[in-house]
C-alpha cells in the first residue's frame, strides 16, 4: 500500500530530518512509529500524507508513484484514500460538528453517495450524532477527537494516519479511540500511528523507532 524508497528530507539544506528511509507498509497493516520530540515523526507523516512534497526519494501509494503528479491528483488521493487524525483535532471552530465532518465531501469529486445517511452512520458509530448541530468550541476533548475521526473516515479511506490521537484525552476517551482504531484494523484499513509514548504503542503489527532520521524496528 505504501512504499517509501530512500526518502530523505532536510530543512534549509542543513538539518537532516529523514535519512534514506525505506519502508513498505502492506494493505491492512497497523504500524506504529515512536520517537522523542523532534525526531521527525510529524515530517514522516507529512511525507506519507502527501502534505510535504519537498523530499528526495520515491514514494508510492497503492502501487502508484506520487512523486511527480499534479497538485489536483495529489489532493484527490488525500481526499479519498487518506484519513488524517491529529492530536489537536484540527477542527474548524466556526463550523458545527456536522459541517466539520461533511467537509471532505466537498472535495470528493465524482462521488455521489447519500451523504446525510453516511454522515449519520459515522457519527452514530462514534456516539456523537446527538452533537451534530453543536459548534466545536463547546465539545470536550474526547468528543472533538471522535468528530475528527468521523471526518477522517467519511470517505472510507484505505489509509489512516494518526498522530498521538489520544495525547490530549483521558483514559476512558483514549480507550474509545483505541477501540475505534482496532475496529478499523479489523476492517483491513492500513493504519500508521505516531506516538512518543511507548506504553501506548501496543496492538500494532509493527512498531518502529524513529531516531536520527532513520527507522529501527
Amino acid at each position: 500500500m505504501i512504499e517509501m524508497i530512500n526518502i530523505s528530507k532536510s530543512y534549509n539544506g542543513e538539518r537532516q530530518i529523514l535519512r534514506d528511509l525505506t519502508l513498505h507498509i502492506r494493505d491492512g497493516e497497523y504500524i506504529q512509529i515512536v520517537g522523542g520530540s523532534g525526531a521527525g515523526k510529524s515530517t514522516f507523516l507529512n511525507v506519507i500524507g502527501l502534505l510535504d512534497r519537498n523530499y528526495a526519494g520515491k514514494l508510492k501509494i497503492a502501487g502508484r508513484s506520487v512523486d511527480k503528479i499534479s497538485d489536483t491528483e495529489i489532493s484527490a488521493i488525500r481526499c479519498c484514500h487518506i484519513g488524517f487524525i491529529f492530536q489537536s483535532y484540527n477542527l474548524i471552530h466556526n463550523m458545527s460538528v456536522m459541517e466539520n465532518i461533511s467537509l471532505p465531501a466537498i472535495y470528493a469529486k465524482g462521488k455521489r453517495p447519500d451523504w446525510k445517511k453516511r454522515i449519520e452512520e459515522k457519527m452514530s458509530a462514534l456516539g456523537i450524532w446527538h452533537l451534530k448541530n453543536q459548534f466545536i468550541q463547546y465539545l470536550s476533548g474526547g468528543e472533538k477527537q471522535r468528530v475528527a475521526i468521523a471526518r477522517a473516515l467519511l470517505l472510507d479511506p484505505d489509509i489512516i494516519l494518526a498522530d498521538e490521537p489520544t495525547g490530549n484525552l483521558d483514559v476512558d476517551n483514549a480507550n474509545i479511540i483505541f477501540e475505534t482504531l482496532r475496529e478499523l484494523h479489523r476492517q483491513k484499513k492500513t493504519i500508521v500511528m505516531v506516538t512518543h509514548n511507548t506504553y501506548v504503542a501496543s496492538g500494532a503489527d509493527h512498531i518502529y523507532r524513529l531516531a536520527d532520521g532513520k527507522l529501527y524496528e
Binding site: 520530540s37 507523516l45 502534505l51 489532493s75 481526499c79 492530536q87 463550523m95 446525510k116
Partner: protein
Amino acid sequence: MNNMGIFFKNNIMVLLRNRLRIALTIFGCSIGLLVFIIGNACMEGYFYNLYRDAYLFCNNVVLLFDGSDDTYDVLENAIKPNYSTSIYSSGDTFFVSSNKYYYNGVKVENNISYIGVNQNDFSNIILSKHNDQYFCTKSKLIYGRGITDADIQNKNHVAVVEKNTAQLLFQTDNCVGETIEVHCYYGYIELEIVGVIDTLGIHDADVLTVKKQLSQTDNKDISLYHYVYIPNTLVQEYMKDDVKEIRVLVYDENNYKEAVSGFTMIMREMDLSTGIVSRKSMLQEADEVKWNLKTTFNIIIILIITFSGLLLVTIFVFSVKERVYEIGIRRAIGASKFDILMQFMLEGMLIAVISAFFASIAGIIVCNFANTVILRFFCIKFSLGISLRLLFATFGIAALQGILFSVVPAIVAARVDPTETIRWE
C-alpha cells in the same frame, strides 16, 4: 444532501457567520455601487429630458433665428418665396397686470412674451420657448378659434393661449372672450382671447412653481411667464422696436433637406450670423453632451469601484491570513490549490453580489426620495430613473468586481503551505 448542498452550507453559510467582517466588506463595496446607480439614474433622468426636448421638436422642421432686420428682409424676399415657411417673430416680455388671488392674498405678476404668428392653423406647427429652449410641437385647438388670415391682415387685437396659461391667468380652461392688457411702447393695448390650445406639455414646471408658491404663506410676490400667440402684424405694429428674435420655421415635408441647404447657403452668402436648429442638430448636441458626461462619469465610477475593490482585496487578504489554519485543514482533507482558489473567488463574488443587492435597494429608496423632494421643493419634474438594465449592469459590475478583486487573495490562499499551519503536536 449532495455535494453542492454541502458546498453551499460549508462555504457560503460559514462565510456569512463572520458578521462584522462581512458587514464591513459589503458596506465598502456597496458605497461604490450605490454611487454608480445614483449617478446613472441622474444621468438617465437628465438625458431623458435632453432627448425629450429634442424629440419635442418636430422632425420636419428647421428653426432659424436672428434679430436683425437684414435677416428678416432676406427671409421675406429670398427664402419665403422659394420654400414653404412660416415666419414668426417675438416681442419683449411685458408686464401685463398684477392679479391678486383672493384665497391667500398673494400678488401674482404675469409676464407675457408675445409670439407673432402668420398662420391660422394651430393644429400644425406651434413654436414655443421654455427656459431658453425652443420647442416646435403640434397642438390642437380646444376652445374658440385660431388666428385667421383676416386677423393677420387687419391687425386684429386677438390672441390664442395655451390651456395652462388660461388656468394661471383666469383660473379656467376656457377663457375665450377674456382680455389681456399689454403695456408696450405705444401705450396700452388690449387683446381678446379668441382661442385656447392644448398645453404643449413643456410648461408643467410653471404650474408646479405656482402651486408651490401659492401654498406658501409669506405673501411674497410671484412672477409667472407665459407665451401668447398674436398676429405677426401686431408685433410689427406695436412691438417692432422690442423684437428680439425672428424665427423661421421650414416645414415643407417634400423638400425639407433642400430647404435647409437653401437657407444655409443664402445666409452664408449674405454673411448673416444665424443659428439653425432642428431635431437633428438638437439630437447631435444631446449626443455630444451625453458622450462627454458619460465619459467623465464612467471615469469617476471606475475610480470609485476600483477603490472599493481595493478595499475588498485588503479585507480578503486579512481574511486569508486569519483563515490560514482553516485553509491548511481543508488542504489536508483533500482540497487542491484550485479548490481553495475557487472558494475564495466565489466568496469575493458572493460578497460583491450581496453588495449589489443592498446598493440596488438603497438606490431605489434614495431615487424615489429625491424625486419626491425635487418635485415638492423645487417644482422640477426631473426624474431619477432606475431601469432594469441599470440593475442588471450593477449586478454585472459587482460580479466582475468580486472576481477581479478576489483573485489576489485567492492566489495567496491557494499558496498556503498546509504543513506550516496544521498542528501535529
